[in-house]
Chain length 360, copies 2
């Protein structure tokens, strides 16, 4: 993995990653000439016992791009600067211009609930220079590089003392609100362990104390023994529709043995994990012969400097479709109660995905 550190004209940092050595002299562009303004703050939600972040300055975005403008494509016209330079890079990471966490730190307002500066970091990860590609269509060694990049970002950002949790994710498709179709993901780094990872950690910690083994490692063993919902079984990685899927086409992807996070993956496991990921994404796109939208989140151990033998790096993919033409809306019971109701059995949905033949 080759890297190049750059700074954008507006002060944001950027890192280019490549499989081949990168030339010197690349400049990081920015569509924004003016310096960073404003900042976000946190407010405590007393009833749910969690933080919410407010970045009202995001509304001030005066930038109105022309319809065909793609800010994630390599910059070719100096009159229309984008976020990434031309050059032989494979993956580009840069700070979001309008982050919900991090960015300029401003004093939080004085309110009737506790408030705090919105420490953290929001990064954009451009998966490829090819705007017509998709994550699943990238060559395996390019996907392996992405897993390395996620590890590098987690190590660097997670190493900062104020960062407690690093979450790489991809929102894909207009159905999940994405307006920019150039293949890309995001990394959110939080100053606390957020509610969902905190719950996962709590459950995993209790399990580890009782069984001396990581919960997900044991669950993956059981899924493999059962076999009914498996989509990929390699020497080091597995992918399956979990027996407890909350979305009809939900899939989990993980190393077979517990690993805390991307930074702890060895080459063999990383390569097999990339193959598992590619297999799932190709099956998704093959199912209805069209791009398949999803939310993909990678859960890792908290970056609090403590050992986390209970943690087990894995992705959960949540596609919004129930059937080819019907979306699953999250409504009363899902959002208000947190109690998911499914019309489809995971075994049936797994069978549909198992039958999609793919060449990885």
């Amino acid at each position: 993995m080759h890297t190049l550190e750059l700074t954008k004209p507006d002060g944001r940092s950027m890192t280019l990653y490549a499989r081949q050595p990168l030339p010197q002299g690349l400049q990081a562009p920015s569509p924004f000439a003016d310096p960073l303004r404003g900042g976000a703050h946190l407010r405590w939600h007393p009833v749910r016992g969690e933080w919410v972040t407010y970045a009202a300055y995001r509304q001030d975005r005066t930038f109105l791009p022309p319809p065909e403008y793609n800010p994630l494509a390599p910059m070719t016209d100096p009159a229309n600067p984008t976020e990434v330079p031309t050059g032989p890079w494979d993956i580009a990471v840069f700070e979001n211009r309008f982050p919900s966490l991090g960015g300029l730190q401003v004093p939080p307002p004085d309110l009737i609930v506790p408030t705090a500066p919105a420490q953290g970091r929001c990064e954009v990860v451009v998966f490829t220079q090819d705007r017509t590609a998709s994550l699943g269509a990238l060559p395996l060694d390019h996907m392996e590089l992405l897993l390395q990049v996620w590890g590098d970002r987690t190590r660097r950002i997670g190493g900062e003392p104020q960062i407690e949790y690093v979450l790489p994710f991809e929102n894909r498709g207009a159905e999940v609100g994405v307006t920019l179709h150039h293949p890309h993901g995001q990394i959110y780094a939080y100053p606390v362990v957020p509610p969902v990872p905190a719950r996962i950690q709590q459950v995993a910690t209790e399990h580890y104390a009782k069984h001396g083994r990581a919960l997900l490692e044991m669950h993956i063993e059981a899924e493999r023994r059962d076999g009914a919902r498996m989509l990929y079984e390699g020497p080091h990685a597995a992918a399956f529709v979990p027996v407890c899927a909350r979305y009809p086409y939900e899939v989990w992807i993980a190393p077979v043995r517990a690993v805390e996070g991307f930074a702890q993956l060895d080459d063999a496991v990383r390569a097999d994990l990339a193959r598992a990921l590619k297999t799932v994404l190709l099956k998704y796109d093959g199912l209805w012969q069209r791009p398949f939208p999803y939310l993909m989140a990678w859960y890792q151990a908290p970056t609090d400097g403590q050992p986390h033998p209970e943690s087990h790096l894995h992705a959960q993919l949540w596609p919004p479709y129930r059937t080819r033409d019907r979306l699953k809306y999250l409504a009363g019971t899902e959002l208000a109660a947190g109690f998911f109701a499914m019309d489809a059995l995971p075994e049936e949905k797994a069978r549909e995905l198992q039958q999609v033949e793919v060449t990885v």
Copy 2:
């Protein structure tokens, strides 16, 4: 409040509620002639530590209504039976034909995670006979009746030993997945306290142990003292955009003093709470002069037979719009991390709603 208990031809129960006495001799219709089939089961989600319910038989719904068919309108044509009879009722409650919880109890499958029968109950609440009305447009005494109905349902269903939590909610609008526009809501009764209410209870219980007062009661006092986000202040009830709103137009509605649930409301508080609710819903519809979609959930105390001085009945309303023409999609940080990011300040959104003049 006048009630009439009926049984549908397929065995489902129905209760009619009215402000005036109901005549005898009303029959409960059903669009379904065949007896109930199938049932749901629960599976344990080991990673999140929560239950998920599976009702695959819901897919078997062979019932294909004509396009103009409204199953919640009073039945006028015996050849096209609906779910509710003609007659002078104001509100009708009946068991969902395809419930995610309750209904026919079937043995749960044997799987690699714990499973259980899906005990519980799913009810449909028809707010009015008028298909062109909306909840906010109903007369105040009709809305008071609805609050009484929610209390009656909570008392009856919550009194069953297997029911731990009763959640009345309304999903309104195509934007939140609603296809049936006759004014109606739902009641889900759970065999456990579901994750979100469980978290609310945990936080409230810790607060009560420390302060000897209900958390929300103290928060409402602080909101009223602050005043910046208030939408309604009556002698017994209040409505406001909470300082910690997670949705741009989020509103909370509650009695000023802590009350465990609808069943514990006295007449004066119930009347003021109905007025607060009507005020908010009229402001919503007035904001852009069109029906305003939302998810409205009413949190109450668990129905475990214990006293809950820490609980404080309240509604949280979550509209899906950020602005007149832009939806707020829940994606990576909201769904995967449970960490909400807001582009708008609650103070600004409250001001928009404060400026909508309504006649209650």
